[in-house]
Symmetry: C2
Amino acid sequence: MTPAAAPMIRRSSRRGSRRRQAGGPGPNAHLCVPYIARGIPTYDILSEESLDRIETTAERILAEIGVEFRDDPETVALFRAAGGTVTPLTEASWNIRFPAGMIREILRTAPERFTQLARNPANSVEIGGDSIVFAPSYGSPFVMDLDRGRRYGTLEDFENLVKLGQSSQWLHHSGGTICEPTDVPVNKRHLDMVYAHIRYSDRAFLGSITAPERAEDSIEMCRILFGADVVEQNCVVMGNFNSTSPLVWDGVSTRGIRAYAAAGQGSIHLPFLLGGAVSPLTPAGTVAQALAESAVGCALTQLVRPGAPAVLAGFIASMAMRSGSPTFGTPEPALASLALGQIARRWKLPLRCAGNFSTSKLPDAQAMQQSMMSMMSAVQCGANYVLHSAGFLDGLLSMSYEKFVLDTDLCGMLHGYLRGMDVSEDALGFDALAELGPGQHLFSTAHTMRHYKTAYYDSELDDNQPWETWSEQGAADSMTRANARWKDLLAAYEPPAIDPATDDALRAFIARKKASMADAWY
Amino acid sequence: MTPAAAPMIRRSSRRGSRRRQAGGPGPNAHLCVPYIARGIPTYDILSEESLDRIETTAERILAEIGVEFRDDPETVALFRAAGGTVTPLTEASWNIRFPAGMIREILRTAPERFTQLARNPANSVEIGGDSIVFAPSYGSPFVMDLDRGRRYGTLEDFENLVKLGQSSQWLHHSGGTICEPTDVPVNKRHLDMVYAHIRYSDRAFLGSITAPERAEDSIEMCRILFGADVVEQNCVVMGNFNSTSPLVWDGVSTRGIRAYAAAGQGSIHLPFLLGGAVSPLTPAGTVAQALAESAVGCALTQLVRPGAPAVLAGFIASMAMRSGSPTFGTPEPALASLALGQIARRWKLPLRCAGNFSTSKLPDAQAMQQSMMSMMSAVQCGANYVLHSAGFLDGLLSMSYEKFVLDTDLCGMLHGYLRGMDVSEDALGFDALAELGPGQHLFSTAHTMRHYKTAYYDSELDDNQPWETWSEQGAADSMTRANARWKDLLAAYEPPAIDPATDDALRAFIARKKASMADAWY
């Protein structure tokens, strides 16, 4: 924990052009950055001794219980060669036990931080260290808005949400499966999704992970976009891979991980841990398991290509024990995130953790209470990549258009929070008080004039007016304002420029790929 | 900062009786406490050097600018005798400059923590150290609910809100002016307010501060309730006093402070700092000013009666600079709270800071987003007494019945958060995973059976059901559920027992006092 004394958010002058496109620098221009560099320390809640106990438990899990691998003999061979003890379970599944220290040793070649290039170089992001990157939520089959309610997501929704993401100065990354475009065949939709990220955003994004050949397609599209040489030497795309908790890595994931790693691209290794269902109910046990499962995924990348970017991750959820329903944005997962953050720093790995979660079905008080608790833990735990930063409702099943803009505003608040506190002579403000003395308002002081544009984050959605004004203007609640807001943003959206030849080549690749496959809907 | 490894919430077996009265121990019984003992460290964002700079600025403010005192020559005489340099400004106002270190030296006699007795001894609270006490919000002229909208508060509202507070296991203190009962004359309403706290709650509470004689009445009613000997030797009531920022202490406040201190009772010393209006816009400057103003108030108590309980405090707000409207629950005040917490620990004084704040006019997404950010800072900064823990909307102008129950549920979440993380062998959960091994759900493990009742905080208001169930049951948003909830709580409310003779004596005192005064309405 390094206490910080002054604002440390990195500014990129190249950002200016995109901001001006969106209507000129707003009141929060001083906070706009391609990614955040934390200006406050992480929140460390556990002692080194407690962290030792969790790490030792993770090592015991790996050495004594082991991890099951399915449908990927190549991955099994890699771990066997590295020292794992393989026990066949069936023809296509194997248990591997890892001697204490083996996985951590393999991870010594993994980078502590890396850059993911965006097609607009001003939007390239750093992942690791003190950086924080916000990306939209990922993976919902449904979308919802106040006008049309809840429905299956379509490609149009997908594109709309990419555009909304691009429109927000508080996101840094375009994300991945921002919603499932269920009107496109399962075996082809990854092409449309990757294309939408490339075409409607100029930020970094995630590729497909649902099959190894779809991972390869994602990387190939990046070669068209960036050039093969650039892809060979840089991280330009990442895949987000889930383990099958408890303690299983399926071949679809491990073969995808190997595809990304072999190409030198990034991968995120995510146990989705619902306490009491697929991990111990107790948060310390869940953290130990998250470490064990995720570290094994990360280690696989290093066996394929030492130095490939790998992100430790943990999605930690709780349960309403009376009903068995999963719960999100609750206190125990927040604590678990803080602990996992401490461990990621000890292991010198970038971290993906927490996000804007809620079980609410509407963008209401419950939604933002839960979201705020979870997002505070994300930025306080030192998560470097916060995948689910905007849109989730309905226990991750739905992307809400209104919640999306409420969440990006919350991300804006966090930009203000994370710049920390300036304690320079000017910020200490003695002269401001001395100028007029006791009992005199400071509105007109030189200090106020100097700072009023940059002192505070100024919410784009919150209503701070007097009750009478708010009432006269229609007494809207915040979800109603959010409904108007996303429509305004979509109406004002303009796609970033793209080289027409590149665009043509991408479209030709997609057409060729689609023509080569019959539609598959499952 | 002391990292903690195990739950540290204090449990009182005596609490059981009250909980059972409210319908038996619920799913969160393991979290019920008379007050919280933080089981996680505070969140320290500034280095010692940065804190030195803020403290030095506060000392410079006191030594070079000074503080203005109005209408209380006795207080001026006390500070002059202690070493202050007094400069008369008018016949009834004086500037006092305090040599560097003088105020801090005076405060050496102030207790680092103290107990405030409740009439039910099981509900007495500790204020200071690692304790956290939640009390309802304070001071709104208006109340609102979804049925009747916004209106001036009445004594009936006041009593209802005291009852709602008493009904919640997540509040620890009954608060003070929970709303202004505007249907009772200004010079008499304090009697009804203090009586309502005594009669409808059995927790500790705040007395009146709007005039010295009302402070005396509050203390006198406590003598009737507790006995004069008990009051002489214990803190049984506190007053919450505001400075008149910037850098003014009015005689109504200082004479009230002297009344509480002379009786050995507690006092809270609160600068209400709206950056850019009555303090510097820059958070570091606001923290320095908060320290200067509040420390002077605290020091006054020690000049009156060394050892009297005094609470350092800061209410720190921001401003929407485009409109000049105050804003609450925003990131910069959250940072300022964290810094003020670090300073309070260096000064070894109990702290009141932050709370459930919002500018929203409805208990909506904005309301809980802002509230959560502010309340997270309250519990992370180490605030010991969180006065505004439940009810505020409308920029502090209104107490909302719905927000009250949403906020108490948030306070429940924070009980779960603050117990921290158990890293005992059992909590590390190795056996839970070893029992069935990879790929097997943990629902039926012995570990799950052992922990399912106590693993998680279980919200009383949140909806975690599947979308279909929620939809079939009426698709209510959380403010609608909150509306039903407060009505259920009021319907189920039963007043705690009180000795009839004591009750008679209190009523007789109030009747006598009221008869002695003509009604005053301003």
